[in-house]
Symmetry: C2
Subunit: 299 residues, 2 copies
């Protein structure tokens, strides 16, 4: 009887969100703007289930997310399932299933929600919505240029001005050039240093250098890693020898990309920033983030 009389809570699960009509109108406006821009560039919409076999994430997603943040469980038939924490593995699964039948380049976008078990905080819930835009089957820098155009187009469609945001970019192959070719670190050590570099923006310089030292990196190497993270595309050759740099595909792509961006007038929105790493292990080329320049919105 006590159970029956207990009043049911009307709250949604903490970190998830109800959309009352007023909020839904705002969400629809955002999603419709995303769709409009993507369609303008000839991208096709797709979708896949929020529940996926667990193995898909175990293989593809960053360690921290799988270990600590993944919502996973067994269905009543004993199959291990997970609720997606990001949209990339499912996208890759779909592409892999029909790769030979699909006309290339494959230009696809989807809007989907994801779940991660983490402490809800300002602007970051356990459930979040994401626009995923991909080009498959096109290796040239033109594909990256097209994605950048879409990103900038989306931002300006919402009224954002050049002064308000920047597209920061780097390349994982450039980080390899530093850690592997220039500093000659072992693969294991590279992964550790890369993980630390990814957390650099949340650390003081001293703390960062001390952590590098703790890993067993010598002072000269530490100085180079720190200098790398603050260098420009022009000053990078003082850290990575030109004979390594000029053979590096990451360096070549970024230079080519900036030529295209500058020629089309989009260069002003973009900035080389070697502190951009991205957490996922599957990233192996260009990496980038949109950065809100307003100091009030810093993360």
């Amino acid at each position: 009887m006590e159970q029956k009389n207990k009043k049911l809570s009307t709250q949604s699960y903490k970190g998830a969100r109800d959309f009352y009509p007023e909020d839904m109108r705002a969400r629809n406006y955002i999603f419709e703007t995303w769709k409009k821009v993507c369609r303008k560039y000839g991208f096709d919409e797709y979708d896949f289930p929020i529940l996926e076999p667990y193995e898909i994430f175990a293989a593809k997603t960053g360690e921290e997310i799988v270990k600590d943040q993944l919502y996973s469980f067994e269905d009543k038939g004993g199959r291990k399932l997970a609720i997606r924490p990001e949209l990339t593995p499912g996208t890759v699964r779909m592409i892999a299933q029909k790769y030979k039948e699909l006309v290339q380049p494959i230009k696809w976008f989807m809007i989907g929600n994801n779940w991660r078990f983490e402490k809800p905080q300002l602007g970051r819930g356990r459930e979040f919505y994401q626009l995923e835009v991909n080009i498959f089957g096109e290796k040239s820098v033109a594909a990256d240029f097209e994605i950048f155009s879409i990103i900038i187009d989306v931002m300006t469609a919402f009224g954002a001005k050049k002064e308000q945001f920047a597209l920061l970019l780097s390349d994982r192959r450039l980080i390899s050039a530093l850690l592997s070719n220039a500093l000659k670190l072992s693969e294991e050590m590279q992964a550790k240093v890369r993980r630390l570099m990814d957390k650099r923006s949340k650390m003081e310089k001293e703390e960062f250098l001390a952590s590098l030292k703790e890993l067993g990196i010598n002072p000269e190497q530490c100085r180079k890693v720190e200098a790398f993270m603050n260098c420009s595309l022009e000053s990078i050759s003082s850290i990575i020898p030109p004979e390594i740099l000029n053979e590096n595909d990451g360096y070549k792509s970024i230079k080519e990309l900036f030529e295209m961006l500058n020629a089309s007038g989009l260069g002003d929105y973009c900035r080389f920033d070697p502190s951009i790493i991205r957490g996922f292990d599957y990233s192996d080329g260009l990496v980038y983030e949109v950065f809100d320049k307003n100091p009030k919105n810093s993360r």
Copy 2:
């Protein structure tokens, strides 16, 4: 090593579905048509998370679904969660949270996906999408009439003709009038008989009567239950005495509703059918289903 070499399956979870661009276009067309009709009638769109506290379903949803078909698990903080198997409990939760602030009548619609663990079969997956349309805070039959208009409008927007479908309707209060007032069954017995009536369409007449008898229903009562399930709005008074019938709110609503439907030309799409019960225990008034008349699509 064996684990690492095993090729990842590219299949989605059984009973769920990938939407390649071609299928996504069809889905978008269906959803856009739904939205257009709902907005034409002044309904507002809303949404809520697919993950909800488990208790919400334990309290509201039909027994079979909670026991056998609900995807439920604990999060990493020990909270018991469920993936929604239907959209009504979450909708009621949201309405309850802000009932006093919301301008009434509240006319809301949402499009959402649900999950039920059952054997996937033709036209029925473990994941399915649903249009939920509700009016809250309006007790008159005008609200039901508006919902019926939307349903018929949606069907005809997809090109369905009068000859192809019917909106079958009954009222739970009419079933109560039979089981409680006319047959004087106990509440427990009413629930059992109602559950059996809900399965009637999937049974032979003999099987149905034998099952009723097994519950302890006498032959005269059995005959009346069977006759009720096949009666028309005109012949129902031969089963339920007029003095009960004329005081019954279900009977009164259906008569009033048919007057409105006939006056507006929608009566031809609708048919009284007392075999319509609906499985959920929370249904307590009008119940209805859209029926595909094509014998090839019978369930």
